[in-house]
Subunit: 193 residues, 4 copies
DNA sequence: AATGAATGAGGGTTCATTCAT
DNA sequence: GATGAATGAACCCTCATTCAT
């Protein structure tokens, strides 16, 4: 990658970052291209030169998102903390780019794309899923996780928790419940016996 | 309530119902007043006569929603099925008007209103919450639920599950996991011992 | 048609008239909805309320056009002037709404519509063509027109002439040639013998 | 002309050719500079370096066009076919670059330029007209054309026919009428006596 | 000389809301 | 009270053109 391409790539990421932040804060539909252009300090047309349409931009933001997420995720999975600590971090570490897809992205993309939908899902599975599985295989081996539970069900739970915890409207209310929520996750509403 | 008022009230509910259905199907932002007017077979202005603004309409749809939900909810709580069955019904019974707020409603209202937010929350707490608490008190008494867990945490979990299960994009993938998900809810990822 | 509908119809025609004039003067592509709205003294959205899209508007202008044209045309055909005079009028009477389609309309519609294209052509044939045929049957009977010539060929000639004569860029240059052009039409470049 | 200039001239013609083809296919307004740049495989700015504006480019395409046309035209006029055959070729030979201006060019230029208009017309007259006149003088001498007809009127007819025949939307419908149309051109609607 | 990047201006279209009847 | 008609503001997108390298 030469200097030209590198600069182009940087600017692209700059725009993607701006878009991602605005999308996260306000939702996709409320953010206009003009908003993104303003935040990224480029003209609207520049965005079109890079991404061709709002649709494509959203698509690329999604990939950017998954990419960043899986990197951070990998860090946690490969760290040498005890298993429960890893799980807690994944669920509650708000600053981290969420490793699972923000639901609005996913929903939007699935509704609008249909065909590309499969491709997007593929990307997601390839990038993010393996770390989930690796993590819970570890959990099962170490006795923290019931061996009979399907990975799908566990991942569903983690994703769900992560999504919710990261939503601005619930985050604050949940903080004091951290311990209880972790407990429910590990021991269920029935509790340890 | 005389005949006039009754008719007015009916028409209002008619509009609310139409709006609710469209919001549920397409999300709030994608539904225009014109769409609602078409579906409810009234003129746009009639909607304004009743609700004054789209904002207010959404507000009222929300209340309508919570109202319907809490009624159905009450039915389940007061029925004479065993506790775990009640929980399962609440989480997985898709046809039922969701007893917790559809997240987009909640998010939208919280972001837009701020001030009224508190009022809306109050409504929600008054209407829907008591049944939750009643239900889990029953669960705790009958030994299905750990007495040390806070109601807030349990309710958070239930809401979260219900939300996710009801989302079109995940519903189908989750169906085969029903058993596992219920198990995790009751016994955690660690499983029964 | 009650008062409401009549007024609506009038306004529609008002917009159509404005659009037609602008299209004739500047071509279709150069005329923006804003231009038409300004000329018709309505808001842009009003135009959308009536016609739904620029595309549809053009379509309707076309029909409006053909309609007006065939009326005027009928007048000439049924008048009691001698045959050559009628032909001359049709070709050279510029003020008359051209009875054949302005080529840009036709081309635009054919390119964009494809499917509706057939419908449009049908309209045209139903409305305008019969008068052409009637006229030239008269011409053949009275000995002004060679009986062996196909109506298609004659109509093609007339249309072509009319189109050209009405084009702003050639009109003035042609005026002094009126006599010659008429002669060629009747007697060919070879001339009367 | 040295090597530099020659190369420059070649590139210019390359661009002109690309532009001409696109204009012919899609009309002037629908073709963007970006389209032309893509087709000619140069950057947009290169086009501006050579032609300064889209306006100028159109102008130069026009001249390029007339130039090519008059060359082909000369070939026909100076060939040794019988006169009627030459005329037929000019009118119906679609592949040949039209020797008369494509109407959209002419109209566009006339409307936009006004001042330069005269210059363009001059170019056209200088290049293309003499061959027309030469051809019809031949026709008059050989008895195919009425001596009393003005050249202007004849040329008007030829141009008009050529234009129409070359339009995609009418070409196919006209093919079966070739004979009739040629007859009308030579003998008029009245027919040979 | 040639290019990739960038942009202001404008076009078609939609929407929540108001006006007039 | 209810409606059809009308609108200003905003949105996505395109284009001819210029800037910077």
């Amino acid at each position: 990658m030469n200097g030209f391409e590198r600069r182009r790539e940087l600017k692209k990421q700059h725009i993607l970052q701006a878009a991602m932040e605005l999308f996260s804060e306000l939702g996709i539909q409320k953010v206009s291209i003009a908003d993104i252009a303003r935040k990224a300090q480029v003209s609207q047309v520049t965005i079109y030169n890079y991404f061709e349409s709002k649709h494509n931009l959203i698509h690329d933001v999604f990939i950017y998102y998954v990419d960043q997420a899986s990197n951070q995720f990998e860090g946690i999975v490969h760290s040498d903390q005890p298993f429960p600590e890893k799980v807690k971090m994944i669920i509650f570490n708000k600053k981290q780019v969420s490793s699972n897809i923000h639901p609005e992205f996913y929903q939007y993309l699935m509704k609008e794309y249909t065909e590309e939908g499969n491709y997007i899902e593929k990307i997601y599975i390839e990038k993010a899923l393996p770390y989930f599985i690796q993590l819970f295989d570890e959990g099962k081996k170490k006795g923290y996780v019931d061996q009979n539970l399907s990975n799908e069900a566990i991942i569903f739970y983690i994703q769900m928790l992560k999504d919710y915890v990261q939503r601005e409207d619930v985050y604050e209310k949940i903080l004091p419940l951290t311990e209880d929520i972790t407990n429910i996750f590990f021991y269920g509403v029935m509790g340890k016996k």
